[in-house]
Symmetry: C2
Subunit: 204 residues, 2 copies
Amino acid sequence: MNPGSQHTEPKRRGRRSGGEDTKAALLAAAREVFVERGYEGATVRHIAARAGVDAAMVNHWFGGKEGLFAKAVLQLPIDPNTLVDHLLDGPDEAIGERIVRTFLTVWDPIGGGPFAAMVRSVTSHDQVAEVMRGFFVNTLLRRIVVHLDAPDGDLRATLAASQIIGMGMVRYVVRFEPLASADVDTLVKAIAPNVQRYLTGDLG
Amino acid sequence: MNPGSQHTEPKRRGRRSGGEDTKAALLAAAREVFVERGYEGATVRHIAARAGVDAAMVNHWFGGKEGLFAKAVLQLPIDPNTLVDHLLDGPDEAIGERIVRTFLTVWDPIGGGPFAAMVRSVTSHDQVAEVMRGFFVNTLLRRIVVHLDAPDGDLRATLAASQIIGMGMVRYVVRFEPLASADVDTLVKAIAPNVQRYLTGDLG
């Protein structure tokens, strides 16, 4: 699945406006259904029916439910399954480095706007926070916990999440210097060992 | 300075409504002036004049500019100078533990609402983010950096801030479990060593 497929279609079929309208309808339906039913309760079939679109198109365009959620609610520029595949592809003792470097590589080019918008949305709407919990805890963090198979895996995953979310807050939202402008290698060296300790080290 | 002095006056003078009105006017004037001039540019004299109040009352009620900012803009329940005094009072090699434990002890009883409100305010208004930067970086974190006197002190302080802010986000705003409900000792054991490494350890 090409994570950029929501932006450009390699093979364009039919009129552009038709495809773009259908995608917009799917994204709007997804936002409604995720908030109504939570991440776990929402199904691709339900969202597609709400938008009047064939469910197969959701997989074609967005890589399934995770991808649709990432695009519609988080406005992420990358399919989350592809992201987790990448994070898990390498030695466990370097997963902290891969997580920090990947987060910065995905968000730095976008700038702080979309990250701040996501945080604002979570703080303004309890239902959005609920949906985010379902997605991050049960889908994204769960895959990492299962892969690493460490004791207290769920606590470890949420500790790592606290550091990554905090890094995003300081770099993109409150922009405390010098962290906000530090180069990626400096931050990977400083932060990755802490994330690594949370995931595979001694928690005391 | 009693950090609770903004809530109860030990010696009440004059009519209650008069004192409460004056405090409310001061808080409103403070919010305006901090946003107009930034944290550094705003003066107690200016804020008091805007509210039509004697500047001495700002010190009496709020412990000066930091306390007024903490109450008016951050809605913190504690005077920040008192807070930093406490954090710096003890061995440097345990400052990570004091920071994590103090943060949880201050915020846990209040619950997530005010922390989420502060984050929402920062993400919604660039001027509030600018004022927060001035306050945290130049006042609160600066005192810790100067006290510890470690190389790359400013980077260290913002790294520590990233972990503390992220802990607050996961515990009070997005509420990822099990971190959101973990007891304070578990979190201190898990998180304090990482904050300590940022402040006094080897950053690689």
